[in-house]
């Protein structure tokens, strides 16, 4: 039975009457908690520190990857940094496929940390404090979507020496790093062929793969692959094959397919690799003639 509240306030009132001891989330209409954490306890002149936007999501709600897929919107950050500081791009963890009726999105259903590297200028005075401020915007969805934002700050002392890591958040940062994509191993060779209806990727790893190995592709750009279509993954000795249905809106002269190739092997877990695959046109014998 689905229930559609007519207003968030009514929904909240009903929730609080029926379930007076609900956790903090239900009283927080944004359905999540977000904190800005620093990996290190201080920053040095010309040094860099990694910060993390750590999201704790209410069960059933999700956030989006940099390509959200068929719908949704990726989180974005606007920084307000002291003179000379620069912030890098969001380091996106490997996403999950989120299937909806007829559609598919890419995002995160569990707690997720978005890492950003902050670079400090040379002319920092040890003994002083710096304040790093950010405004993070997100879209959190369940069946419905709610945009949200929060202003977050971090104050760090400037020290001459390399700072020790913040043991309090060590496991959060470790977990976040483990889930980051890697560059494709040098020995791996990836080729893509563009047929009338599909894109076929073939990856030669040069090492024996377990028969149960599966591959999934997350495109970086929209309108290239059909997000909701099943991806056909096959393994053969040292190679992986992936069949992807083309999007109806794909540019007819598309030359490259860019995105994340996620390979899941028993005992080795999930690994994600950034790939830029040149596509060669090839009529496939199995496709229906156009």
């Amino acid at each position: 039975m689905t229930w559609r509240p007519s207003s968030p306030t009514l929904a909240l009132a009903i929730c609080l009457v029926l379930f007076p001891s609900l956790p903090a989330f239900s009283q927080n209409l944004s359905h999540l908690k977000v904190e800005l954490l620093s990996e290190q306890t201080s920053i040095q002149p010309s040094g860099s520190v990694t910060v993390g936007f750590h999201f704790t999501l209410q069960k059933g709600w999700h956030l989006y990857w940099q390509n959200p897929g068929d719908s949704g919107q990726a989180p974005s950050i606007t920084w307000s940094l002291p003179e000379g500081f620069t912030a890098g791009e969001i380091q996106w963890p490997i996403p999950e496929r989120l299937t909806l009726p007829s559609l598919a999105d890419y995002g995160y259903t569990r707690d997720v940390t978005f890492l950003v590297a902050i670079q400090a200028p040379a002319d920092l005075k040890p003994g002083h404090m710096v304040r790093l401020s950010a405004n993070i915007h997100w879209l959190v969805c369940q069946e419905i979507c709610i945009p949200g934002s929060k202003a977050l700050n971090l104050r760090l002392p400037i020290r001459k020496k390399q700072a020790p890591y913040n043991s309090r958040y060590a496991s959060i940062f470790k977990s976040a790093r483990k889930n980051l994509p890697l560059p494709l191993p040098e020995e791996w060779k990836i080729r893509g062929s563009l047929g009338p209806k599909e894109i076929h990727l073939s990856i030669d790893t040069g090492e024996p793969l377990a028969k149960t190995t599966t591959a999934t592709f997350f495109p970086l750009h929209g309108n290239q692959i059909h997000n909701a279509a099943k991806q056909v993954s096959e393994t053969s000795e040292n190679s992986l094959f992936l069949g992807l249905k083309k999007s109806d809106q794909i540019a007819p002269d598309v030359k490259t397919l860019e995105g994340l190739l996620v390979v899941e092997q028993k005992n080795l877990g999930k690994k994600g690799y950034w790939v830029q695959v040149p596509l060669t046109s090839s009529p496939s014998a199995a496709d229906n003639p156009q």
């Binding site: 689905t2 559609r4 068929d70 719908s71 949704g72 919107q73 974005s76 606007t78 909806l100 009726p101 007829s102 559609l103 999105d105 879209l139 969805c141 069946e143 419905i144 979507c145 709610i146 945009p147 047929g195 209806k197 599909e198 076929h200 073939s202 750009h221 929209g222 309108n223 279509a229 099943k230 056909v232 096959e234 053969s236 190679s239 094959f241 992936l242 069949g243 249905k245 109806d248 809106q249 540019a251 496939s284 014998a285 199995a286 496709d287 229906n288």
Partner: protein, 208 residues
């Protein structure tokens, strides 16, 4: 190459059982018969001779609400005055966000002062699937010959309530729909300079 053929065959088999291909820009727009919120039937093939805009709609979606702070209504007024047929389409299944019965749809139109030609009720998702409408808003333009000439986002600035000169990425603001209609209707071009973009918004709440 044996394995590659195997993958190709499996994929071909899967496409045979999947739904019909939605139309692409440049192809004839899929025909449909729609019921509007006043109970009137509209058949797309009977609407040739004019430009047609299809606007996928969900009154609860924050992306739609943002457009309806004035921008969408202004665009609807501008182009319907120039002879464009503008149809809102609601493909939300019953009990999902955006679903409206005829009375609720008319209430929504009145409240927002929408200036559409009609609002189509599509709770079964038939029209949505025919166009592969993914989000609300998702915009389509069909030319007087019945050819699909635009498919994609309304603009490049999601959740921007008021008109802006630049979007949050610092790019010049573009309303793709307005730009395309300007080129097609006023400048009498055959195709708009931008005919396909990635649509953004809440997902269309299709029936499972």
């Amino acid at each position: 190459m044996n394995k590659l053929l195997q993958v190709a065959l499996t994929l071909a088999a899967l496409s045979l059982v999947s739904t019909l291909e939605a139309a692409k820009v440049g192809d004839p727009a899929p025909d449909f018969t729609a019921t509007d919120s006043h109970g009137t039937l509209h058949k797309l093939s009977d609407l040739k001779g004019k430009f047609t805009v299809l606007e996928w709609h969900n009154q609860g979606c924050p992306f739609v609400k943002s457009q309806y702070k004035g921008k969408m209504q202004k665009l609807q007024s501008k182009w319907t005055a120039k002879g464009v047929q503008w149809f809102s389409v609601v493909s939300s299944a019953p009990d999902t966000e955006g679903y409206v019965d005829a009375a609720e749809a008319n209430e929504d139109l009145k409240k927002t002062k929408a200036h559409v030609t009609a609002l189509f009720l599509d709770p079964s998702g038939t029209i949505g699937h025919a166009y592969d409408a993914k989000t609300t808003p998702h915009m389509f333009i069909i030319n007087p010959k019945g050819i699909l000439v635009y498919d994609g986002a309304i603009d490049n600035a999601p959740l921007t309530d008021q008109p802006v000169k630049k979007n949050k990425d610092g790019e010049p603001f573009i309303n793709y729909l307005d730009q395309a209609l300007q080129e097609l209707v006023e400048e009498k071009k055959d195709t708009p300079s931008v005919s396909t973009t990635v649509p953004y918004g809440c997902h269309v709440k299709y029936k499972p």
